[in-house]
Each structure stands twice: as structure tokens, then as C-alpha cells.
């Protein structure tokens, strides 16, 4: 039995960041299992770029370098971005995206605590808009790949001079992408999901990674680093939305579980939209924010031009955060409405 006073200090930023990085480790392990060890190289590349860019900007802004560098927030941005990229992306893609995320989306707005947009998602959106071909070429999971790539082969893809030519040989349309293109050819969803890249719930192999994100997210909830509002509201609204469409026409719309377990749904629910800086602060505001992201994500997936829409939805809802916060201020006890 502990004794009074039962005071606890709020955990420091670096403790929070280290725990979030820890929560990402199962997903990293799943990545290595599904796509091979190339993701580790990308994580290292992104980390080095993020830390150098952060140090450079802090120096230019005459801020203390060491405390801000050690808080781990740049490292987390780098990891989230690297985990969103295709695992065989060329090295400069990782470097450009991370540099943009840290320098423009974070430091130019005033550094940690002042950035209105989620830096990792800004980096991702910049890359997706600028290099759509590379960004939508995902390698096939190892169990489906025709040519098994050794680690040395993977390094060749990452550091090779011009690898966009032969990426076709090892890449495979992701389920969300495949679903979208096949639906335009008037195939029914039931026929489409029998293709090789579809697994039990989502993508073959990919659903393992999604499951690992779920485990990491539950750890964050258990550690009380995030509240239930954001992930639950996001996943529930996404499922409701997908469910309604699915019930209306199951031949044209995929089932809700598919939407929860493919793409960036789980990564977004627990790690992206829970960013405390660019998200709302009130409990009611968090519900509105997450619901908005879910609705936009579903609409972009089904009607938009891109296979997945989590990044754009997060950025669009980031813009609404000041409004959401202003409208959802809780009533102060004792005050009339």
C-alpha cells in the first residue's frame, strides 16, 4: 500500500515519446516479417534526417539544441513517416519527406507545440503529391512475391541510382488500390477480394502489421498516453459509414472490417490522429475531430482519386481544430450555459 499524498507528476515529453516509439515496435517487427528488413534501413535514414534537420533548425532559430533534440518528438515524426512509405522507396524519398516534415511543417511554425498540422502527414502528403508513381508502388509481401529479394537486393532498391524502372517487377497493387481500379471495370467486390493480395480481413500480410498497430495502440491506452475518444470515435464512425454503404450495395462497397483493417486506418486511429499538438483538446472536440477524419477518409477511399485518404483527412481536419476547440469548450462548473 502506498501512502498519501497520492500525487503523480505528469510524464515528461521524452518519456511519452519513448513509450510511443515502444508501442510502434510490434508493427516494425511485423513489417520485417511481411516485407523484409528494408524497413529498418528506412527508419534509420528517417531518424538521422529528422535529428539533423531538427538540430539545424534549432541552431538557426537560436534555440537550445540538446533538450529539444532529446525529447524524441522529431524521432517519432520520422518513424511515423517511414512507416507510411512503401518499404522499398528510394533513399532520397525518405530524406526529402522527413526534411520537409521537420523543417517546414514543424520548425517554421515554431517547433514542438506550435505546429498546426501533423508533421508526418504533411511530409507524406508532399511526397504523395510530388512523386505519385513511387508512392503508390508497394512491394508485394514476401509470401506472395515471385522473386524473393535478399536484404542486399532490397538495399539495391533503396540506394540504387534509378530504381523506378524495375520496381514493377516486385510491386503489387495494394488491396485498396486494386479494389478501386477493379470497381471501375465493373467487377463486384466479392470477385475482387478473391485475388491473391486479399487476406482474411484486409491485405494479406498487411493485416499482420495492422494487428500490431492495434496492440501498440492498446498499450498506449493502457498507459493513459491517449484517451479513448479519438481512436474509438474514428474506428466507430469509419465502420458505421462503411457498414451503411455495404448494406446498401454489397457488390459495390467493401465490408466495414475491410476498411478497418486495410490502409492506414489503425496507424491513423492510434498514432496519427492522437497527436496532442495538432489535434483538439476538449473531449467533445476529439469526438468531432475523429468523426470528421473518418468520414473524409471513407469518402476519399471510395470516391476520391487516391487509394487511401487518412493523410489528407487528418490535414483537412487539422485546419478545423481551432474552430472545433472554440465550439466544444466544456461548461465551467457552476456557470449557466
Amino acid at each position: 500500500m502506498s501512502r498519501s499524498p497520492y500525487l503523480t507528476s505528469a510524464p515528461s515529453v521524452s518519456v511519452i515519446m519513448i513509450k510511443v516509439l515502444l508501442a510502434l515496435l510490434p508493427a516494425v517487427a511485423a513489417y520485417v516479417w511481411v516485407f523484409g528488413p528494408s524497413i529498418l534501413v528506412m527508419l534509420i535514414l528517417a531518424s538521422i534526417t529528422a535529428l539533423s534537420a531538427e538540430a539545424l533548425m534549432l541552431k538557426l532559430r537560436n534555440r537550445p539544441i540538446k533538450p529539444f533534440l532529446m525529447d524524441g518528438s522529431a524521432l517519432l515524426t520520422a518513424w511515423l513517416l517511414a512507416l507510411s512509405l512503401p518499404p522499398l522507396a528510394p533513399w532520397w524519398l525518405v530524406v526529402v519527406g522527413t526534411f520537409f516534415a521537420i523543417v517546414i511543417a514543424k520548425q517554421l511554425y515554431g517547433g514542438l507545440g506550435y505546429n498546426p498540422f501533423n508533421p508526418a502527414m504533411v511530409g507524406y502528403a508532399v511526397l504523395l503529391i510530388s512523386f505519385p508513381v513511387i508512392m503508390t508502388h508497394w512491394p508485394a509481401p514476401i509470401e506472395l512475391a515471385q522473386a524473393k529479394l535478399s536484404f542486399a537486393n532490397q538495399l539495391e532498391y533503396i540506394f540504387g541510382a534509378s530504381n523506378s524502372m524495375n520496381l514493377d517487377a516486385v510491386s503489387m497493387a495494394t488491396p485498396l488500390d486494386y479494389l478501386k481500379t477493379q470497381l471501375t471495370l465493373h467487377h463486384s467486390v466479392q470477385d475482387i477480394v478473391s485475388a491473391a493480395q486479399f487476406g482474411l480481413l484486409g491485405a494479406k500480410g498487411g493485416e499482420l502489421i495492422v494487428g500490431a498497430y492495434l496492440i501498440g495502440g492498446l498499450y498506449l491506452l493502457q498507459q493513459r498516453l491517449i484517451t479513448w475518444h479519438l481512436p474509438i470515435a474514428f474506428l466507430a464512425v469509419l465502420a458505421l459509414m462503411a457498414g451503411a454503404f455495404y448494406l446498401a450495395d454489397p457488390t459495390r462497397f467493401a465490408n466495414p472490417l475491410f476498411h478497418l483493417f486495410t490502409g492506414a486506418s489503425m496507424l491513423g486511429a492510434f498514432f496519427i490522429i492522437t497527436d496532442p499538438v495538432s489535434g483538439p483538446t476538449t473531449p467533445k472536440g476529439k469526438l468531432v475531430f475523429a468523426a470528421g477524419i473518418a468520414v473524409l477518409t471513407y469518402l476519399i477511399r471510395v470516391y476520391g482519386g487516391y487509394p487511401d485518404g487518412v493523410a489528407f483527412s487528418v490535414l483537412l481536419m487539422n485546419m478545423c481544430v481551432p474552430l472545433i476547440d472554440a465550439w466544444t469548450q466544456p461548461r465551467v462548473f457552476g456557470h449557466q450555459k
Binding site: 526529402v96 517546414i104 510530388s130 534509378s162
Partner: protein, 246 residues
């Protein structure tokens, strides 16, 4: 003219130059650096952001604007005493619109392909606020020659910003420089197109609208940084002699 009068005129020189003594050096300096329309006054941002996807596009539109500004300033200055203050804006706009129509039609006749690229942005020079701003702020109060010089230098300052921004966006976005120069000098000029970065993937963001905003912001930041550094150095210089005498 008494000395006191001259001092007053010097103080008010930026807004008003009614005194016969005109500072041509200041007019050039204001247009190119001190009051640069693109980087300091932030006027005429619509073409600055929209047309700077390449150096040639940006500079051509800038030069057209400069010609219009010089001509409109020169046409407004001689009639400035007879235009009633109450209706001066419609009168100015009519003059500017007539001049822009001349430019638009001449470009259509002699630079047809460039005219097709710049498109709606040539007629839109009429609504470019920098043109009316210089007519209103300078030509309506000054004689013809300084007014024409002011219009041209302001337009030229804007052209340099458009060219710099266009060049930066073109190099980062496409890895080339001077692309589209054949639209100005004919097909034989195609050999002047430089490939700065061979085998380049193309960074689309720089060509898209966000690239214009980020690029312009970087240029403004660079200009402010240079100006601040100069001011700091001048302050240090003016303090130093005083210290020496004491």
C-alpha cells in the same frame, strides 16, 4: 527655394514629389529593392503566385506589367491636374485598360504561343493592384518623366521577383531552366534551354500552388534577413564614430 522647404520635400519624398527636385536614384532604388512590389509592398500577388512555374513565364509577364505600368504612369501624369478627385479611379482604370488591350492584342499578333501560355493573366494586368497603386500614389502627384520611370522600375522590380521565383520553381520542379524560351524567340531558341539536373524525377510540389507560396515566403524571408543585417551594420557604423569622439 529655401533650405527649410527642401528639407520638407526630402522628408515627404516617398509619398509625394511635388517639388521640382526629383530623386531619380531613389525611384530606381525604391522599385528594385526598398519598396519592391513583390517582396515589400506585396502587391500584384495573383500573377506572382500563378504564373511563376518557369523563369520565362514569370519574366515575360513581369515585363508586360512593367511596360503597362510605365505607359499608364506616363499617361496619367500629364492629365493629373484636370482629373476630378471624385472620379479619378474610373478614369485611371479606363486608361490602364486601354493600354493593357494594346499589349494584349500586340502579343496576340507577334508572340502568339507565349500569349497562349500566359492566357487570361495578360488582360488581368488591368486588375493588378500594383498598376493602380503606382498611378494613384505616384503618377497622380508627379511630372511625366519621373512617373514613367517609377512605373517602369516598379514593374521591373516585380519582374525580377517573378523571374527569380519562376527560376527557383523551375529548377526544383523540373530540373531545367529557360524552358519555354522558344515561345519568345522562336523555335531556334530551343537550344538555350538548360538542363540543370539530368535524369531528374521532378519535384511536382514546386510546380503546384504550394510551391509558389513556399518559394515567395522564402524570398521575402531572405530579403528581410538581408535588410536587417544591413540595418544592424549601419547602426553599428553610426555608433562607432560617436564612441571614438567620447
Amino acid at each position: 527655394m529655401s533650405e527649410a522647404n527642401q528639407e520638407v520635400a526630402q522628408e515627404a519624398q516617398v509619398e509625394e514629389k511635388s517639388s521640382p527636385k526629383v530623386f531619380y536614384g531613389d525611384i530606381v532604388g525604391n522599385g528594385l529593392w526598398k519598396q519592391n512590389p513583390g517582396l515589400v509592398q506585396l502587391l500584384g500577388l495573383c500573377p506572382t503566385l500563378a504564373m511563376t512555374v518557369s523563369l520565362v513565364n514569370g519574366f515575360s509577364l513581369g515585363v508586360m506589367t512593367a511596360v503597362v505600368m510605365a505607359a499608364s504612369n506616363a499617361s496619367v501624369a500629364p492629365i493629373r491636374q484636370w482629373v476630378p478627385t471624385e472620379i479619378r479611379i474610373p478614369v485611371f482604370i479606363l486608361i490602364i485598360a486601354a493600354l493593357v488591350t494594346i499589349i494584349d492584342l500586340s502579343m496576340h499578333a507577334y508572340l502568339q504561343s507565349l500569349h497562349a501560355v500566359l492566357g487570361i493573366f495578360i488582360p488581368l494586368i488591368v486588375t493588378n493592384c500594383i498598376v493602380l497603386a503606382r498611378v494613384e500614389a505616384f503618377a497622380a502627384k508627379n511630372p511625366v518623366v519621373p512617373s514613367a520611370l517609377d512605373g517602369f522600375m516598379m514593374g521591373f522590380g516585380l519582374s525580377l521577383v517573378l523571374a527569380t521565383l519562376g527560376g527557383i520553381r523551375e529548377i526544383i520542379g523540373k530540373g531545367t531552366l529557360f524552358s519555354g524560351i522558344d515561345l519568345v524567340f522562336g523555335p531556334s531558341a530551343k537550344s538555350m534551354i538548360l538542363t540543370i539536373i539530368p535524369d531528374y524525377h521532378g519535384f511536382l510540389l514546386a510546380i503546384l500552388p504550394p510551391g509558389a507560396f513556399i518559394g515567395l515566403a522564402s524570398l521575402i524571408a531572405t530579403r528581410n534577413w538581408l535588410a536587417q543585417r544591413k540595418a544592424a551594420r549601419e547602426a553599428a557604423m553610426s555608433v562607432a564614430p560617436q564612441l571614438a569622439t567620447h
